[in-house]
Amino acid sequence: MIETAPKMLEISNLSKNYGQNHVLKDVNLTVRQGEVVCIIGPSGSGKSTFLRCINLLEQPTAGKIYYREKNVLDHSLNVSAYRQKVGMVFQGYYLFAFKNVIDNITMAPISLLKKSRAEAEEEALTLLTKVGLANKKLVYPASLSGGQKQRVAIARALAMHPDLLLFDEPTSALDPELVGEVLKVMKNLADEGMTMVVVTHEMSFAREVADRVIFMEGGYIVEQGKPTEIFENPQNERTQKFLARYLK
């Protein structure tokens, strides 16, 4: 079914250099609507850089990115409008420290989508309920646990009604006992049909939730396929080595 869904993101021959450091080399990826793509790979393989190129937090050195058939690297593109459609959740949460939970969520909808405060707050409350934090709406980020912060960060991204959500190791900074609550929220999103690209080290999440798993190493996509293909029958020797270390 997903194989015939419209293309959301089409990336071809993407590369990114930092001076002499070639971090991404000829990366190609198509993401279709409703698809969940998980990216795995060792540290320094370029996973974060790849996500950051997708929403233009980094400017790619070469290659093409099309979002719903529109050229994202065209200079006439309204970058802010594009980013409103492509949400991002970071490893470090980055909630706005000086605003309470509900204001964190309503800030962008009020000033960018021109929603009234009442409407934005009502929606924010619905989202908070969805991530299980309705009772924390007036609390400041400093007094939340890591897992709670990350769930608020997800609600904040959702408040912009994105088409696509990028996650960069959303659970890597969390204490082990808090990982589950965040993964559960992400799994619910996937079940609702959200299109997601998730960089993660949580192999069981990738296996269970992903439609496609991508293994990156040294700036290349080494191998990709269905979770069962990648985890049970990896073709490439480097994938096998990486998984052998992770799935012990």
């Binding site: 929403n55 802010s80 980055y94 960060a153």
Partner: protein
């Protein structure tokens, strides 16, 4: 020693109360202007334009490299002469420009403190976590909106403790305005002491008045700082 505390309090006291009014007026206006100048300079210094950065770096260096006392003389005595020359060369006869002493004093304090406060704001802006900016950008805010809505509000809040210290310092520095004849506390005291020779009484009273002005403020600042640490 025959000290005339009663006389001094009776005559100098009311005059000093008026002086306190002048000090508060000078401090409040100068402090607001200094913050405004500081913020504008900080933003210009962070701009991508090399010229804008260069100009403001130089200005801040000039202000920080010369004493406030000299700046006050310069604004009060030199700048009117320069303006006279300018207007004469434009064909005006005998322009004879003069600033009121208080206005010159406020200008001097605002600019001098503005230069220092710009450094406070600049480093506060630079220390805001990169992630805060990136999460703003990722939500779809423009770089300018991120600066205005996310970076600057946090930088201002983080600057509050340091600004409090500058406020207390500024109250005390208004005594420098005496040299350009602003009737603030020091000038009033000097005048009284030289007329009556009640030197010990006059300057002791003066010191106490400054303490009464600055101690409660320092205390309030400490409370704010404490509250601030908790909310952070």
């Amino acid at each position: 020693m025959n000290l005339k505390w009663g006389d001094a309090l009776h005559t100098l006291g009311p005059s000093l109360i008026q002086g306190v009014g002048v000090v508060l007026e000078a401090t409040i206006i100068s402090f607001l202007l200094a913050n405004l100048i500081g913020l504008l300079v900080a933003i210009c210094r962070l701009s991508k334009l090399k010229i804008s950065r260069g100009i403001f770096v130089t200005l801040v260096e000039i202000i920080r490299g010369t004493p406030l006392l000299v700046q006050l003389f310069y604004i009060y005595y030199v700048i009117p002469l320069l303006l006279d020359g300018l207007f004469e060369s434009l064909g005006m006869s005998n322009p004879n420009i003069q600033f009121s002493a208080l206005a010159a004093g406020i200008a001097g304090l605002s600019i001098n403190y503005g230069a220092y406060i710009s450094e406070v704001f600049r480093s506060a802006i630079l220390t805001i976590d990169r992630g805060q900016k990136e999460s703003g950008l990722a939500l779809g805010f423009s770089a300018r909106q991120v600066l205005r809505k996310i970076v600057i509000p946090q930088a201002l809040r983080n600057s509050i403790p340091v600004l409090g210290n500058y406020l207390v310092m500024m109250i005390k520095d208004t005594s420098l305005l005496a040299v350009i004849s602003v009737s603030e506390l020091l000038l009033r005291t000097q005048t009284y002491a030289s007329q009556t020779f009640e030197t010990i009484e006059s300057y002791t009273i003066l010191a106490v008045v400054y303490l009464i002005l600055s101690l409660p403020l320092s205390h309030i600042m400490k409370l704010i700082e404490k509250k601030f640490h908790i909310s952070n």
